[in-house]
């Protein structure tokens, strides 16, 4: 299709008018091959590789002075540009939503994460059709588009086989998607989605342990090779979002061992040394001062020797994990280079979506799901459970789902204070950005200090590609981008700074930036404190304007270190009023609209309480399993056991760090329930299962419908009890952040390690059906009370996802 005359502001692009002629027969008919052609991007449009690293801070990569070696990031920066005043939203999904739509996160329903779809426009986790993501615009303009890795923009309860699919990547602009839909994945056992289907837990083909980041690079390269074999010249757009450096911090030991001893002097020293290197590199102004020490984090010298060694190992693993991400992205860049296209490929690489995460609490944790379920563990308990699950040597292995201490996150966000979730402070909002485009950037290695925001990326890419912002897509009038292009700053250091005003808000933490001034109001809640009682203090009756106010002038104070609110009351008032205006315009209101369940606003109680699984159903996403939490339930299975007996898993959810399995081993019915690796309960029949048609049942009779309730477990075979026992505590919110449920097997990491050597331990008989009844004999009042808790638990999880 010829470029001239194409209407690119009304998408999809219409077929051009027929310029030939038709007669009754071919005789005299004039062909017009444009009728059979496809739209192409504007002449000269470059390839675009957009990379997003997860849960990392400004002071993490060596490219920006950090202690983590990132040679690939550095080689791009040295041949491209470092942007040292680039900003994100301070939380996972919100940043991704803002990045891909070019609009403010609340305006596209992502004031919170995809796990929690709330009842207000700014928090419904549903990208509106009038805010189409820019990849959709590129796709409709002829780009080849591929998305790889973490997505986190599909509502938690829409990730299954029944859809709806309109918020899956393939319906939001990607020709092809491979990755995971949720907020996190185990790097050894992710649950993978490809295009519009969950395809399962992958296994390495060469006998080595599977590793997601390696596969992520290979899948991206494979896609590139395939599209290039078919369309050698059509520009492509690839979005690669790593699962790293989000928890669980998983990396093979050869990566983490490179850092043995590197962090023995602790986070206070790491912070100071990072700051010195940042100044030497020029990514931090020479006259800047390190933000003041934050007493929320213990001084390294105050720790005992065991904790120093434990925490140092946590950071060694995080560093190795992050360096591996750099290495794998480097492989993708090498592949682009090998096909001769690096020269005209714009690489936009953002190191972190919300600053480094402090959600590991001060101690770090052997299993991040304990935090997300609101289970507080003392330092002694954490160490004891680490000891139980493999010890310090296991940190980074599949035995654990670890997250490091918040102290490392704080240091990783140097020179700024705070981090993820804290939208009022640069530790949560300012992340490294590197841009690489050899054919257009002739100021290689320079630092750009334009105030830029994640919403600017889409506008910039469209600008580079020569694609206009469409008025409408599919007949739906489009809202304008909030972001603005900074493309001209690639070639011109003196290009004007266009992003002069930006609000920030995550979980009540607020910021209002305008012309260098930043008003900051941090909620009086430490990010890892998810105590419901604490959260409720911000409910009805709370006056947000009573929260402490800080004011900074960033052109003179790069690190947000000098609070000058007392000297400028009029500026405080002006920015405060501006914040409320912006909040209203962008659907930020009501504040904390993403945590409504803590304030009594919960979704309607689902009518379904019985779920029947027939046939070979595997890999049910963790957010979509029957909600057996906090009340009585039964799991009943109709089996056919052949002569000679059967063995294997009847049904299993997640793994040994949280999950349950009903299985047959040594001919006997067994049940294992892992309360997040903190407690484990097992129940086993003494007699073998009979052969023929057999009904087995697990009955959990809760003490009371309440969070984490204890209760009695009974196993029955053909209606007769065969085993019983007690579970003192059960999982209140969620077994896993990513691991799915399987009928007839236990995919991925297993729940009960006694059958790990036979994994996935497929059932050798026949399973006719498995029936979950999640509301047996529950009163309406109890059902309502539990529903409130379930919503709160989900929100609690979401707050840290």
């Amino acid at each position: 299709m010829p470029d001239e005359g194409i209407d690119r502001v009304s998408l999809p692009i219409r077929r051009p008018p027929f310029a030939g002629a038709t007669k009754r027969t071919l005789e005299g008919s004039v062909p017009d091959w444009n009728q059979a052609s496809h739209v192409q991007p504007p002449e000269g449009a470059p390839n675009v590789l957009l990379v997003l690293i997860d849960d990392a801070g400004f002071g993490n990569p060596s490219t920006f002075g950090g202690p983590i070696q990132t040679p690939n990031y550095t080689r791009l920066a040295d041949n491209g540009l470092r942007y040292n005043r680039f900003h994100v939203t301070a939380l996972c999904s919100p940043t991704r939503a803002a990045l891909l739509t070019g609009r403010n996160h609340h305006r596209v329903g992502f004031g919170m994460v995809g796990e929690f779809s709330g009842p207000f426009p700014g928090y419904n986790a549903t990208i509106p059709r009038d805010c189409a993501p820019f990849p959709r615009i590129m796709q409709e303009n002829g780009y080849l588009t591929g998305g790889f890795g973490k997505w986190h923009l599909t509502p938690d309860n829409q990730q299954g086989f029944s859809g709806p699919f309109d918020r899956w990547p393939t319906r939001l602009g990607f020709d092809y998607f491979w990755g995971f839909l949720g907020g996190e994945a185990g790097q050894y056992d992710p649950l993978i989605a490809e295009n519009q289907k969950i395809i399962g837990v992958p296994e390495a083909e060469d006998g080595e342990q599977y590793y997601f980041q390696d596969d992520l690079a290979e899948k991206t390269i494979d896609w590139l090779h395939r599209v290039r074999s078919e369309k050698p010249k059509t520009p492509w757009f690839a979005y690669v979002a790593t699962g790293c450096s989000h928890a669980p911090h998983h990396v093979p030991r050869k990566w983490s061992d490179k850092y043995r001893g590197a962090f023995d002097r602790g986070w206070d020293v790491m912070r100071e040394e990072t700051f010195a290197r940042q100044k030497a590199l020029g990514v931090v102004p020479a006259d800047a001062q390190l933000s003041p020490r934050n007493d929320a984090f213990p001084t390294w010298d105050s720790l005992d020797e065991t904790h120093k060694r434990l925490y140092a190992r946590q950071m060694e693993v995080y560093a190795g994990y992050s360096e591996n991400a750099d290495w794998n992205i480097g492989r993708i860049i090498d592949a682009v280079d090998e096909i001769g296209e690096l020269e005209n490929t714009v690489v936009i690489w953002i190191w972190g979506d919300n600053g480094a995460s402090m959600e590991g609490t001060l101690t770090g944790t052997f299993n991040e799901l304990t935090t997300l379920n609101g289970i507080p563990l003392t330092p002694e308990q954490q160490i004891g459970l680490l000891f139980k699950h493999g010890g310090l040597e296991a940190w980074g292995d599949e035995q654990l789902a670890p997250h490091y201490s918040a102290g490392w996150a704080w240091a990783g966000n140097a020179p700024f204070d705070w981090g993820k979730q804290v939208a009022s402070h640069l530790g949560g909002t300012r992340n490294p950005l590197v841009v690489h485009w050899p054919s257009r950037i002739d100021d290689a290695g320079a630092v750009r200090s334009h105030y830029t925001h994640v919403t600017d990326v889409g506008a910039t890419i469209l600008d580079l590609a020569g694609i206009p912002m469409p008025d409408s897509i599919d007949g739906v009038e489009q809202q304008p981008f909030d972001g603005v292009t900074f493309a001209d700053s690639f070639a011109d250091a003196t290009a004007p700074e266009r992003h002069t005003q930006q609000y920030y808000e995550i979980l009540g933490n607020r910021g209002m930036y305008k012309d260098g001034w930043l008003l900051a109001q941090r909620l009086r809640r430490i990010p890892w404190d998810l105590d419901p009682e604490k959260l409720r203090t911000f409910g009805p009756g709370w006056n947000p304007d009573d929260e402490p106010v800080e004011l900074y002038y960033l052109p003179d104070d790069f690190t947000q270190s000098r609070n000058i609110a007392a000297d400028h009351p009029e500026k405080v008032r002006e920015l405060s009023e501006l914040f409320w205006e912006e909040a209203e315009r962008n659907h930020v209101l009501p504040l904390l609209g993403g945590l409504t369940s803590f304030f009594g606003i919960v979704p309607p109680i689902p009518e379904e309480s019985k779920f029947v699984f027939r046939g070979d159903i595997q890999n049910v996403p963790s957010g979509m399993i029957p909600r057996i939490y906090n009340h009585s339930y039964t799991i009943s299975a109709d089996l056919v056991v052949p002569e000679g007996g059967a063995e294997g898993v009847i049904v299993a959810e997640a793994d040994h760090l949280g999950g349950f399995a009903l299985f047959v081993q040594d001919g006997k019915l067994k049940h294992t329930y892992s309360m997040l690796g903190v407690l484990e309960y097992t129940h086993a029949a003494e007699q073998p299962l009979p052969t023929g048609e057999v009904n087995v049942e697990l009955v959990f009779t809760a003490d009371a419908p309440k969070p984490a309730t204890g209760g009695e477990v009974t196993l029955l075979v053909n209606g007769e009890p065969v085993a019983s026992g007690r579970m003192e505590h059960t999982v209140p919110g969620r077994f896993s952040g990513y691991s799915g449920m399987d009928i007839g097997r236990d995919n991925g990491l297993v729940v009960d390690r006694s059958y790990a050597d036979k994994a996935p331990f497929a059932f050798t008989g026949e399973i006719k059906q498995v029936i979950f009844d999640i509301a047996p004999h529950m009163s309406e009042e109890d059902a309502k009370a539990l529903h409130v808790h379930a919503a709160q638990a989900l929100a609690m999880h979401a707050a840290s996802a």
């Binding site: 005992d304 065991t306 000891f387 010890g391 040597e393």
Partner: protein
Amino acid sequence: MSDDQPLDVLIAVYLIPDLAQKDFDEYVKLAGDGKIVTDGVALVVKDAQGEVQVKETGDHLGRKGVKGGAGVGLVVGLFAPPLLAATVVGAAAGALAGKFARHRMQAGIGEKMDDALPPGSAGIIAIYEHDGANTVAGALANAIRTSTAQIDKASADELKAGLAEASAGLAG
């Protein structure tokens, strides 16, 4: 050891082996200085590959690396003869094997320690007169968990009971 002094049987576990070594050295020094009265102490290490070995022992006189048969103490005998033979006791273990294998079998502490320790960790087992409990607690400062049982005298049966109780105390 005096007959009328109750004895403490202590098991301590460590996340970091060299911190266990440090505490072990401190304990042995206390014994050597006469600040505690001990029947013996053993440092058990499980390496990164999951192999358990008795890395060091100390006797009632605070001597490290037992060289002779006498004065080895009950603690040293808690472990399988091959384990001892392979590590610090060396050839001297032969004479002791018969005597202490019985205790090991009764107490099963070798297996218990093997089960309790993850790869890359360590444990200390010690028997000492109860009067020194506070001093010992101060010396084993780097233990992430300790459990102590009290027995009346350093006999095999008493030790068996004490170890069982101390082992149970490590759980949870």
